[in-house]
């Protein structure tokens, strides 16, 4: 346990000293800010048009100016933006050990490799979840400032589940990214993999197989193309959990057994 706490302290220190948390927070903040802008446009299309803003496009993207629509925009942003930003965090946590050539310093130690990998996963999970909470909180502030109609405490609760549930499903797919960063020994292979899965998730939804494709499940959960009860079944969640476990097992197995030649 002491070893694990030490490893956790170490991973947290690396994160604190990096600019990546700041950049990812700034990058993710765009989601509620753009959502707020869409609400401004939709609330008063004529005024928006006179300011040079395109109200028709906003209507196509969002719908109407109310809290349910705004929360839906936030959940979709977490599904798509989170898939990329959370992957970048994961790629950084694992890939930097190869880019900085420090991976070899994590191997022949009294602290086991499994302990170090577990600490990395915990840091990624906490970091991405806190980022999701931050986005939800920032979304509330922006929504209040923009003065959107249709607020209720019940809506707040269901939207909290929508946004954070979407975030958890995105987070569940991160072990595969960690595995790609490990076998790719750096940044580019897992980043290529992430882009590939984002594109394929769109294709799977378009072709009607999204509920069977784990990378599509977060977007469908967010309500991007309709109520999630119509889009997803139990099998969709089972597949996400299955791929999450596969990613975890593969990453642990790789760090334990692969030849470390860098």
């Amino acid at each position: 346990m002491n070893n694990f706490l030490s490893a956790l302290w170490i991973e947290t220190l690396k994160m604190r000293r990096s600019k990546v948390p700041l950049f990812t927070a700034i990058g993710f903040s765009i989601a509620p800010l753009v959502g707020g802008l869409l609400m401004i446009i939709l609330k008063d299309p004529e005024a928006a048009r006179s300011m040079g803003l395109i109200s028709t496009k906003a209507q196509m993207l969002a719908g109407v100016a109310d809290w349910p629509t705004y929360f839906n925009v936030l959940a979709q942003a977490v599904a798509v933006g989170g898939a990329i930003l959370f992957a970048i965090i994961t790629i950084w946590v694992f890939g930097r050990e190869f880019s900085d050539r420090t991976a070899k310093e994590l191997l022949a130690l009294p602290t086991s490799r499994e302990t170090i990998i577990s600490a990395k996963f915990v840091v990624i999970a906490v970091w991405t979840f806190v980022l999701s909470l931050f986005i939800f909180g920032l979304g509330l502030v922006v929504g209040k400032l923009v003065v959107i109609p249709g607020w209720s405490m019940g809506l707040l609760q269901t939207s909290f589940v929508d946004v954070l549930g979407t975030a958890l499903l995105v987070i569940a797919m991160l072990p595969i990214v960690a595995f790609a960063a490990s076998i790719g020994r750096g940044y580019m292979p897992p980043f290529g993999w992430t882009i590939f899965t984002v594109v394929m998730a769109q294709v799977a939804v378009i072709t009607g197989w999204g509920d069977w494709f784990p990378w599509s499940v977060p977007a469908l959960f967010s309500g991007a193309i309709g109520p999630r009860a119509e889009q997803l079944g139990i099998h969709s969640y089972v597949i996400v959990i299955l791929f999450s476990i596969i990613g975890l097992v593969a990453t642990y197995y790789w760090w334990r057994n692969a030849d470390q030649t860098r």
């Binding site: 490893a7 170490i10 220190l13 690396k14 420090t102 191997l107 022949a108 602290t111 057994n257 030649t261």
Partner: protein, 303 residues
């Protein structure tokens, strides 16, 4: 005998390519063992196998009497290492990098970080980001990490890399003191053969993946060939006078012979030269240096 390092038929191959081929190493406790080889000879692969970073294709490895287990498990609390070039988290300070190593070694006392920084004379850089260090100080940081937990066994890949001449002497003295006063076993690879000459108790020479020679430093003295180097003002007369000896001309024009009679009695050569009207202006027995011995050995293995 309980060796600090013991390998039995250690082999590592990638497809048809042998990186290391049936290497049997025996490193005694408390000795300084130098591992020599050309680039690509298999030094780093062997070192990685000793540290459980790669799995042997064949054979086994014991470190401090313990066979390396699955997942690279071994007695790592008692082993310090520096593999290839040193590395550190560039956006963390020297102190933070060493504190990471301290925690990964499960050492509670943070004072060990100060102690090792003082030992490696990098205390004045403690708050400097590792990424801004000179290559020499970066090397010292790597060595500090290896020494942090006072290991019984040090496995060092090119420990003198990037150090200035004063740094090389300093690290040499530190390693000698660790071996002599604290009985630390040191297994090190090096390209700096003069360093090896000054440090090693035993030397292993690896070539194309195979351990072709393993010998004590004292035995190396005996094996290194000697020659008598001769210089006169009239080299052609000198050649005629020494016709009964096998004489070669060195790159600088001087003459040299490996003939045991000449090495045993250089005064005989002096007399012959004086009588021939070509008195010597330089007559000295020179011993082959480690570099020449190493090259002779690896070249003969290539033939």
């Amino acid at each position: 005998m309980n060796y600090a390092i013991e390998t039995n038929g250690l082999s590592k191959f990638y497809g048809d390519v042998f990186a290391v081929n049936k290497v049997n190493l025996r490193v005694k406790r408390g000795e300084i063992y130098s591992f020599l080889g050309l680039n690509g000879a298999g030094k780093t692969t062997t070192i990685r196998a000793l540290l459980g970073m790669i799995r042997p294709s064949e054979g086994n490895v014991k470190v401090l009497g313990q066979a390396l287990g699955p997942g690279g498990r071994g007695p790592w609390a008692r082993v310090g290492h520096l593999v290839e070039s040193p590395c550190a988290y560039p956006d963390l300070s020297v102190r933070e990098n060493l504190d990471i190593a301290r925690r990964l070694h499960g050492i509670r006392n943070p004072k060990v970080v100060d102690d090792v920084m003082n030992k490696l004379t990098i205390a004045s850089y403690s708050n400097r980001k590792a990424g801004t260090l000179s290559s020499g100080n970066f090397q010292r940081l790597g060595l500090a990490r290896a020494l942090l937990h006072n290991p019984e066994l040090l496995i060092l890949d090119e420990p003198s890399n990037a150090l200035d001449p004063a740094g090389i002497v300093e690290i040499r003295e530190l390693l000698i003191s660790l071996a002599r006063e604290h009985e630390t076993t040191i297994f090190m690879s090096s390209h700096i053969l003069t360093e090896v000459n000054l440090l090693a108790d035993r030397i292993g020479i690896i070539h194309e993946g195979s351990l072709i020679e393993e010998l004590d430093a004292a035995r190396l003295e005996e094996l290194r060939s000697q020659r008598l180097v001769i210089d006169t003002r009239d080299l052609s007369k000198a050649r005629e006078a020494l016709a009964s000896f096998e004489v070669t001309t060195l790159a600088d024009g001087r003459l040299a012979t490996n003939d045991p009679r000449a090495i045993a009695s250089p005064e005989l050569i002096a007399t012959l030269l004086v009588n021939a009207g070509a008195p010597p202006i330089h007559l000295a027995i020179e011993q082959e240096n480690l570099e020449e011995y190493f090259l002779r050995l690896t070249e003969s293995n290539n033939e």
